[in-house]
Amino acid sequence: MRVAIVGSGLAGFTAYQTLRRELAPEEIAVFGADDDPAAAFRRRAAAIRQRQMRSESDGHCLPTSFPGLALSSTVRRRSVRPLLGTLCDCFHPTVDEFLAHVERLRDRSGWERSFRRARIERIRAVDGGFELDGHGRFRHVLVAPGHPGLNVPDELRSDPRAVHSYEEHDYAPTVTVVGAGLAAATEWLNALAAGSEVVSVRRREPVRRPLNVPREYFSRRGLDGFHRLGPGERSARLRALLAPSYPPGRAWDEPLATAMMEDRYRVDPSVNGSAQVICATGFVHGYAHDALLAGLAAAHDLDTVDGWIVVDPDGSVPALTDETRTLALAGVAAQWAFPAADTLAGARYLAHGFLGRIRSCRTP
């Protein structure tokens, strides 16, 4: 066995689809707790009642940007609207379409033959590869552990009214939503639609942009400059790029404007006496919150900056990658290489980098 993917979420699944262009299922081992790659995403999308993806046609798990979900949607709906929508970047697949896409890929790619239900606790560098917790030695390992946990502000941890947006919940008559990103915006509309009065508590005004980061950061156009930044500058740039944001558009603005006129929506500086507090505050940041990554960094004395493990532009860890072996990160853990690493496009980018490393490896 040559290649291992640690993590069976969407980042690992996307990497698997890319590897399958050149490797058989028997040459790849995928380690994870759940054989459904969309399990975590499905749970979170259901919790915030998300019906449409923020990503566009190329937000899928295939190794190439074409064919995108707009094409399959056009065929399935027998309408050219999805394709025309891609021309103005206004096609967003539904969550159901995306989940069906994942299911189709899962069925036909041999995922089940590669999947091993096991939680990898430790990765140890050995001669010509890596030892994975007694599951064998692999030359090339991609670590895609996903988000390390939900972020709940300290002052709300013991508040019985508090629930995280990505946990199952209903809406009380009065709701305070903490946060300013896509989940927060979705919760504002959800709660208003449920008849609640909504208070938005946020530290800063939300950034309005179509995707998680500006579009040029999805290609070399923006990435080359990003990769040239020194550690301090790159860390600061990452923090700026990853500030909470949600897309512009009337679908978001009109319900809020209407609710504001009806005194059902307002912005407050701090949590007040609402019956329910929804923490739409995303995930905790930093490799240290993930036991596997923390152990890896400590055991191999990896370079880190402000919670990010320093990786090369292709996602590989310099200290553990050479001509004979590769250890690379994917998903949110690889934001040092690709700011939008926790998106599907980011997963594809890092998968390409990983495959490139395997190709260039001289040893069989």
């Binding site: 890319t18 262009r21 190329d58 190794p63 190439t64 940007s65 074409f66 064919p67 891609t86 021309l87 103005c88 970047d89 500006p214 579009r215 040029e216 999805f218 290609s219 070399r220 156009r221 923006g222 990435l223 080359d224 496009a345 594809r348 980018y349 390409h352 495959l355 490139g356």
Partner: protein, 394 residues
């Protein structure tokens, strides 16, 4: 997509290779160079805009932007083709551009991403394929250029002084008159692809006769003393530019007569000065544009478009004609724009029309100066004169 500059250039070059190959095939089929010239201009304009404009202005290029950018490039290419004198049929030139544009869209959105895994995240860069495409495009263009150079017609210089004619040209060549070169007795063009430049012709039945050939260019010629027509064109494709025809004293001859050339495509008379003769410039069963000419002192019509001809009569000055300044006759269709017709005298064809449409013809008039004539314009025998701006590619 957010293209890098290199990505834009490589994507354009790779998409250009099939276009330039197609252009070469069309050129070989038609025995004309315009497709290669047009393809070269398409590439040049595209690369210039990539470097000077698109890369700077468009950090991200949405899919819809390809439409206005394509239209902009098409307009610039057509303008440059006109400025460079590339004689391309408009419809075919637009079709070549549109085909290339469509192909480039298909490749950018589907072909290249399938060919190269990292196409989108590399900002359109194609790696080795990009370099290969650049070499291929350069090789095809260089090959076409070398072929064009090798096939250039020989240039024959006519020394200054008087040469006894008629000179009969029976091969593809460029005949260039040195200052003071005069041919007495006329020039007869009997081969396609002939250019006659800066030659003066005196006498002869026809000053210059062009029959049954295509691709003839008469540039800067002057004709005087011809017994029948100054320039006589029959069943031939011709461009007459910056000529001078003196027919004074010849009451029945015609300055420039272009007849029965409908099957040879559009012909052109531009920038000529014609004096005297019965008709200054006349076309029969032809598709001819007559622009920026000066015609004066004819014994009958200044300019006549007749016998089911079609064409534009534009920006001409017609003075002192007898009977009719500009005549659209015999089921012809004429777009007559921005001409000045003055001092038309009464003659046997009428009381002195600035413009006359007759015998089931249609004349469209726009912004002509016709006031200084006994009758500004008229239509007789089931003809129509309309006044609206026509579509013009000029």
């Amino acid at each position: 997509m957010s293209y890098t500059l290199r990505g834009r250039i490589e994507s354009r070059l790779a998409a250009f290779v099939p276009v330039v190959v197609a252009a070469c095939v069309i050129a070989a089929g038609e025995h004309r160079w315009w497709p290669v010239d047009a393809a070269g201009l398409m590439l040049g304009v595209g690369l210039a805009l990539d470097v000077q404009a698109y890369h700077r202005v468009l950090r991200y290029q949405p899919g819809w932007a390809a439409l206005p950018l394509g239209a902009l490039e098409l307009a610039v290419v057509l303008l440059l083709m006109r400025a460079a004198g590339v004689a391309a049929p408009l419809g075919q030139a637009v079709a070549l551009f549109a085909g290339g544009w469509l192909l480039s869209q298909l490749l950018a959105h589907a072909g290249f991403p399938l060919l190269r895994l990292t196409y989108a995240e590399d900002g359109g860069e194609l790696g080795r394929l990009g370099g290969t495409a650049a070499v291929a495009a350069a090789a095809v263009l260089a090959g076409a250029g070398a072929t064009a150079y090798a096939l250039r017609p020989p240039v024959v210089h006519l020394a200054s002084g008087v040469h006894q004619g008629p000179i009969v040209i029976t091969r593809r060549e460029v005949l260039v008159g040195d200052p003071g070169a005069v041919v007495r007795g006329g020039i007869v063009v009997r081969a396609s692809g002939v250019t006659v430049k800066n030659v003066s012709v005196v006498g002869g039945d026809y000053g210059i006769s062009v029959e049954h050939v295509h691709g003839t260019v008469l540039d800067g010629v002057s004709v005087s003393g011809a017994r029948l027509d100054g320039i006589h064109v029959r069943l031939a494709g011709v461009v007459v530019r910056d000529c001078s025809v003196d027919m004074l004293g010849n009451e029945l001859g015609q300055g420039i007569d272009i007849s029965y050339t409908m099957d040879m495509g559009r012909t052109l008379v531009e920038g000529c000065t014609v004096t005297g003769g019965m008709d200054g410039i006349t076309t029969h069963s032809s598709m001819t544009d007559i622009v920026h000419n000066q015609v004066s002192r004819t014994t009958e019509r200044g300019i006549s478009v007749t016998e089911m001809s079609m064409g534009m009569v534009m920006d001409n000055e017609v003075r002192d004609a007898s009977g009719i300044g500009i005549w659209c006759n015999d089921r012809s269709m004429c777009m007559i724009e921005r001409n000045t017709v003055v001092d038309t005298r009464p003659g046997k064809d009428g009381p002195g029309f600035g413009v006359l449409a007759s015998f089931q013809s249609e004349a469209n008039l726009w912004e002509n100066e016709l006031g200084a004539n006994p009758v500004a314009s008229g239509a007789v025998t089931q003809s129509e004169v309309s006044r609206a701006r026509s579509f013009s590619y000029r």
